[in-house]
């Protein structure tokens, strides 16, 4: 075993988490490389120190204070189980702000909500500037404004939807476990718009000189795959911080995974049939495994769907090469 691989197994070695053959290999390398042994000692000391730091005693009044805070929150008119009331309240506040702004700006038509919408869209386009291919934002915006099933849309009716953007279905509690079918559930028309809570700027390292987002392509020479068995290299892609309240995101990822001959799974490798999401969730994680050779194609497919790869983290593993991607999506 090369010392490079041994050093990447020191932590697992300390935890007794290595198969016998690998453990013996690490011990053999340790005996030949004193610098590696020193490294092991450092790690041991650090683990000991962190372990000795805990446990800590929480303040005595913590639990009563938490329970009291919960009680106070439940009594607040802004909290409570009635989501419809909250949505209406939110809409009321939005309309009030829009009206106030219009009056303040001296505009004649205070009910000019399309202009307000356009401003919001412009802000979102600004946020996503460079995150989607030039031809795609309009198509994505149409999906965002799709009415619920059965409702007509005068403006959008003449335009073709991009492939796979058909149903406005949120992947919710699975009524039929074990089925491959994704079951759409009805959403309020503004569910997608409500989902984004704190849009994050895409990191600069993924931008080219023109300020456009470029998908991260792993440098395989610098990130060698440990593949002793000689099996084909796989990428495990963890798509996280997906803005999952968007009715289309997980469906799109599911379709994309299937088109690539794989399945979308949860973090434990169990295929996702239907994703359970609560009203407060604004992201979920989803995983899929791809042949490494398909990675570039996969990223370009994501970009075509209006998803921008923002963060990547090459990660070595004994069995596969993992890559974490942050996928952002216009809600």
């Amino acid at each position: 075993m090369h010392p490079f691989f041994a050093i990447n197994r020191l932590s697992a070695y300390l935890d007794g988490d290595l198969p016998r053959r690998e453990r013996l290999e690490v011990e053999r390398v340790l005996s030949r490389h004193p610098e590696l042994e020193a490294e092991l000692l450092n790690v041991q000391n650090a683990v000991r120190l962190v372990s000795q730091a805990g446990p800590a005693r929480a303040p005595r009044r913590l639990v009563p204070e938490v329970l009291q805070a919960l009680e106070e929150r439940q009594q607040s008119p802004f909290r409570g189980p009635d989501r419809v009331r909250n949505v209406l309240l939110g809409l009321g506040v939005t309309v009030s702000i829009a009206t106030g702004l219009a009056v303040w700006m001296g505009r004649d038509n205070v009910a000019d909500t399309p202009a307000v919408d356009a401003a919001a869209d412009a802000a979102m386009d600004d946020f996503l500037d460079g995150a989607t291919e030039p031809a795609q934002p309009d198509a994505v915006a149409e999906v965002e404004n799709d009415p619920p099933e059965g409702a007509a849309s005068d403006e959008d009716s003449g335009d073709a939807e991009p492939a796979g953007f058909g149903d406005a279905g949120l992947l919710a509690n699975d009524p039929n476990p074990g089925s491959d079918e994704l079951v759409p559930v009805e959403l309020p028309p503004d569910a997608g718009r409500m989902s984004i809570s704190e849009p994050r700027r895409l990191p600069d390292q993924n931008r080219n000189a023109a300020g456009e987002i470029e998908p991260f392509i792993p440098d395989w020479d610098k990130e060698p795959v440990h593949d002793e068995a000689g099996s084909s290299t796989l990428l495990q892609v963890a798509v996280y911080r997906v803005y999952a309240n968007n009715p289309n995101v997980l469906r799109e990822l599911h379709d994309l995974a299937q088109a690539n001959g794989t399945l979308l799974t949860d973090s434990m490798g169990k295929p996702i049939q239907i994703r359970s999401l609560s009203g407060s969730d604004d992201f979920a994680s989803a995983h899929l495994t791809l042949p490494a050779a398909n990675m570039e194609v996969f990223l370009s497919q994501l970009a075509r769907l209006g998803m921008a790869v923002a963060i990547s983290e090459p990660d070595s593993d004994a069995e596969r090469q993992s890559l974490l991607l942050e996928v952002m999506y216009k809600p």
């Binding site: 020191l10 041991q44 962190v50 446990p55 596969r320």
Partner: protein, 169 residues
């Protein structure tokens, strides 16, 4: 803890969570008491002082309690996710001061921990302070087991090197 809660204290998390979702405050209280110390320990190591850690863990447990009502995620996962989210937010809001390097192990450890990034810090504390195994960490952080193991490896190497010249063996 109130006397009538004693029998419930033996119940598994899933049963307590089910009861809490059904509105049984006693069941929620047992869960809160079960996780308050490890959650506080996590916040304390992350934020470095008792005042901020106390505020963070309180908000984290409030958030945990609210999420528990509408989520089927295991309580252990939810509570650490809430604690990490609180710490992350607070650490961003106030730049954590780097501790000095000329005092005891406690201060040296704080200094080294403050050099780790969020990903490294969370996996290290969950493993070596809280004592979760890799599968549990993977679930809390929504990672694959392999990614959790790699992060832990990186975090341990890094903190080991940071402490290298500061700790007497």
């Amino acid at each position: 803890m109130s006397a009538e809660l004693q029998p419930d204290a033996q119940l598994p998390d899933a049963e307590l969570a089910r009861r809490a979702r059904g509105g049984e405050t006693d069941a929620l209280e047992v869960l809160l008491r079960r996780y308050q110390d490890p959650a506080y320990g996590l916040c304390l190591r992350w934020l470095g002082d008792t005042r901020h850690a106390g505020d963070a863990v309180k908000d984290a447990l409030v958030s945990f309690s609210e999420q528990l009502r509408r989520s089927t995620t295991p309580p252990a996962v939810l509570v650490y996710q809430s604690a990490i989210a609180e710490c992350e937010e607070r650490a961003k809001a106030r730049k954590i001061e780097k501790a000095g390097l000329d005092e005891g192990d406690e201060t040296r450890l704080r200094a080294a921990l403050s050099e780790l990034d969020i990903n490294e810090l969370s996996v290290l504390l969950l493993r070596d302070l809280v004592g979760l195994d890799l599968d549990q960490i993977a679930e809390v952080l929504a990672l694959s087991r392999g990614s959790a193991r790699s992060r832990l490896q990186r975090a341990r190497l890094k903190i080991g090197r940071l402490l290298e010249t500061r700790i007497d063996v």
